[in-house]
Amino acid sequence: MARVINSRKACTVNPLKMSQPIGGALAFMGVSGCMPVLHGSQGCTSFGLVLFVRHFREAIPLQTTAMNEVATILGGLENIEQAILNIVKRANPQLIGICSTGVTETKGDDVEGYLQLVRKRHPELDDLGIVYVSTPDFKDAFQDGFARTVTKLIQTFVPEDIPSRRAPQRVNVLAGCHLTPGDIDELRDVIEGFGLEPTFLPDLSGSLDGHIPEDFTPTTLGGVTKQDIAAMGGAAWTIAIGEQMRGAAKTLEARAGVPFELFDRLTGLQPNDDFVGFLARINGRPVPLKFRRQRGQLVDAMLDGHFHFGGKRIAIGAEPDLLFGISQWLTEMGAEVAAAVTTTASPLLEKVMTEEVVVGDLEDLETRAAGCDLIITHSHGRQASERLGVQLYRMGLPMFDRLGAAHETSIGYRGTRDLIFKIGNLFIAQTHEPTPDTWRGESAAPGTPLASDPDIPPAH
């Protein structure tokens, strides 16, 4: 439906996009006992670290191979080896997850080759998982790095073996980077509500959900374990959340024959009906009462809320999967997606219910958001929002100037219901009281709403 255009500018102004390697690092953070490492100069890691620390408000495990100018020319074998040895010594992880950066990709480091050498030289590290993902900064975006890492984790740990028997209650959930730890918790609730046993890959709800740990460890805490990942081949189904997870789901299917169902969004009534319907089908049980009630509440919220969403013009800047999910839902609530900007290519972009989707930056969003009723993007939208006088609703990463980023939940019946309230309340707060001059001559701006009392919901 939408026309997808690439910004023609030479200069990116106010980036919406973040780099691939830190997307990869985030995926590694959802694996238990993991130390993510960026193979590059220390600054790349430092920026990534600060970004995640400010978003999650948690201590974040992230290391660097500390490539300096000389090392980048000579190649990073020694740095990778040293990094692994030092991390083992200091943090004793189960897994070291290495993402390349622009620096090491420009030189063309053969990291897979290096790792074989390191393995040979250090048989004592045989039990340590080491996963390497190629994620050059100068290609693609955060979401791509995340997705590649999930695929690589599957390739590394799930044996190539089609089991003769599958555990019917076990399902894999491949959770895209547009899901918050809160979203993952919600999914777990729903899936477990059907008596199914989900394995999340990655599982940020275990590691970055803001719990108080029993003791301090420098690696990730919680999250999915290597053993859990290895056992994913024996599950009955894979549920992939977000188009970005299609590659990972296919890889798992090819390696272990696990069939998959992909849900490209879980915000809104229809996609959750599909999701819950699917769960009911695969375990052959009726939908638990709890979810029937939640569905009723969502329908009620939609009825109450649609008055305030109808006709609203909204500008959204987000990575493809988040953009798609939120745009479709807003459209279904009667709002209009007046501007859509994203970071990277995706087959979903054409399907977004809007005229055009720009692969661009926040400047592109800002020029298109003038006169809109709401901007939805990450915290960096704050400047545009201020300049335009258009309210900002923060979604996505980074969210450094609000509390609770990890717990924002916008999927499932319940999450959608709450999202209607949160955004709907912003619209209600924007309503202007009429004055004697509201409808007089010049001052009657086109589209001025008729007097209505937003506090009294019309009966339905």
Partner: protein
């Protein structure tokens, strides 16, 4: 690249850099480009440092030439405030693609500069080099030159790609960029005998504005602050100042020194943190201005303001001192400001439980030592685990640090206060000191601590109690097992840069290394930032003492 390595050398040879004065010729050559330990390093790159130093110039466009990582992951995350333009908060980057890596990104850079000038028309464009285009050989200096000629506008190359070194090197390379291309290129509308430059102050959280009203009152004009809340024109005409204050102990020493050399602007090194330091700084400013021809009565007026402000600040702090006296503070900072913060805290009656001086020079440490007395417990480079344990053992009542370690403190349910770059409160001058004390008091006495430390109803003990037991058990086990205890003692890390343990150093000493340099040669300990050299010296001393005792027995 040769010009860059020359610059780096030049910056390392900086005589005004106290980090270097204590070093031998050979060491100085090596400069600060130590190899960081892979897998054990933290901290920003030289590009980060350059951006920190120059981004506070508010009305120019700061364009980052590189892949999305350098700007996209970090833009608009620094707390420098502006009283005018907010163009500096706009994130400009060439966001180079694979194509630019293969065929060169100079064309994209040139077009980017053009787009910025067309759309935003800033008084200047600053172009920051990063690692990837530095590797592929993009000549940003030439591009800037061509663009400046074509668009008739200053286009300043800032050549400080991340991989040449750490943040503080980047601070200096940024200083070189403005020395070479900005300072002295314009003239002020008028000058007065009361014109000063403030160098190395970034107006984080608006701290400059805690100081400026007093300078205004004294009739002292900040001709240019480099670079907090600065306009391009101010920096460009800063060479006409009469005197300068250098705020941060090392960040832009080269700027202060070279401005003295080129334009005869005398400078002093001062701090706005702490009541005493603030007063000293005001005095020094007055003294230098008078030396350069300002009316001597300036000193009387300065003393009057100092007297009034000190009295006022103490009166406002007094009620807090009672509540804070004896409370122990764990101070973790990047190092450059440690000693001035220490002074400030002691004024409020707090005790310092320890401070990290990872990046500080020997002299900085001496200052801290002097301030903290002989008991100074300095923690050169605590790992998060050690930090956590230290807090858990309740040796500190509150931790002051940068944003990154905050969550370790909070997870240990320990009061915490942000004193680094991204902080939201301003702590400079007399006002700032009162604010800092107020914030510490608020953090320490918040009723939330009592609540969050309670055990859950289903737990017999809180997890802290269990953790404390675990630590005690561990200690008891070590006490019962001298071999393990010795191993753990020897395992303790001394040199954080190169991960060298006590044991390795002792072995080197046993094998004949009898001074810090020899130990460094044998083990690489102390060869990084040099922060651990004192501890190495202490180990050598201890070893020779035991040997002196042990030798006769063996004989």
């Amino acid at each position: 690249m040769s010009t860059l390595s020359e610059k780096v050398q030049d910056v390392f040879n900086e005589p005004g850099c106290d980090k270097n004065t204590g070093k031998s010729e050979k060491e100085r050559k090596k400069g600060c480009t130590k190899q960081l330990a892979p897998g054990a390093a933290a901290g920003g790159c030289a590009f980060d440092g350059a951006k920190i130093a120059l981004q506070p110039i508010t009305d120019v466009a700061h364009l980052v030439h590189g892949p999305i990582a350098c700007e996209g992951n970090s833009w608009d995350n620094r707390g420098a405030k502006t009283s005018g333009s907010s163009l500096y908060r706009t994130g400009f980057t060439t966001d180079i693609s694979e194509n630019d890596v293969v065929f060169g990104g100079e064309k994209r850079l040139f077009r980017s500069i053009k787009e910025i000038i067309d759309k935003y028309d800033p008084p200047a464009v600053f172009v920051y080099q990063t690692c990837v285009p530095a590797m592929t050989g993009d000549d940003i200096e030439a591009v800037c030159k061509a663009a400046a000629a074509k668009f008739n506008k200053p286009v300043i190359p800032v050549i400080s790609p991340g991989f040449v070194g750490p943040k503080n090197l980047g601070n200096k390379l940024a200083g070189e960029a403005i020395l070479d291309h900005v300072i002295g290129t314009q003239e002020p509308e008028f000058t007065t005998p009361y014109d000063i430059n403030i160098i190395g102050e970034y107006n984080l959280a608006g701290e400059l504005w805690q100081v400026k009203p007093l300078l205004d009152e004294l009739g002292i004009r900040i001709l240019a602050c480099i670079s907090g809340d600065a306009k391009y024109h101010e920096v460009a005409s800063s060479h006409r100042a009469r005197a300068a204050m250098m705020v941060c102990s090392k960040a832009m020493i080269n700027v202060a020194r070279k401005m003295e050399e080129r334009y005869e602007i005398p400078f002093f090194e001062g701090s706005f943190y702490g009541i005493g330091d603030m007063s000293d700084s005001l005095r020094e400013i007055a003294r230098l201005l008078i030396e350069r021809g300002a009316a001597p009565e300036l000193m009387e007026r300065t003393e009057a303001v100092i007297g009034r402000e000190e009295a006022r600040a103490w009166a406002r702090i007094a009620p807090y001192r009672k509540r804070l006296i004896g409370k122990r503070v764990l101070l973790i900072t990047g190092g450059v400001k440690s000693w001035s913060v220490v002074a400030a805290l002691q004024e409020a009656g707090l005790e310092i439980a320890g401070t990290s001086v990872k990046k500080s020079t020997k002299e900085d440490k001496e200052k801290i030592k002097e301030l903290m007395g002989q008991d100074a417990h300095m923690i050169d480079d605590m790992t998060p685990r050690e930090m956590y344990k230290m807090l858990k053992e309740a040796r500190a009542d509150i931790m002051l640090s940068g944003g990154r370690s905050q969550f370790i403190a909070l997870k240990a349910k320990m009061p915490w206060l942000d004193i680094n770059q991204e902080r939201h409160h301003a702590y400079a001058g007399y006002e700032g000191m009162v604010e800092l004390v107020h914030e510490i008091d608020k953090a320490l006495h918040n009723p939330v601590w009592e609540q969050v430390r309670r055990a859950a109803p289903w737990e017999e003990k809180s997890w802290e109690e269990r953790a404390a037991e675990a630590i005690a058990t561990e200690a008891a086990a070590l006490a019962a097992d001298p071999v393990a205890a010795e191993a753990s003692r020897r395992d303790k890390q001394v040199c954080a840069c190169n991960l060298i343990s006590v044991g390795a150093i002792e072995d080197a000493i046993r094998d004949g290394a009898d001074n810090v340099a020899a130990v460094g040669k044998a083990t690489a300990a102390g060869a990084g930032c040099g922060g651990c050299q004192e501890r190495i010296a202490a180990i050598i001393e201890a070893a020779s003492a035991t040997r002196a005792v042990a030798a006769p027995q063996a004989a």
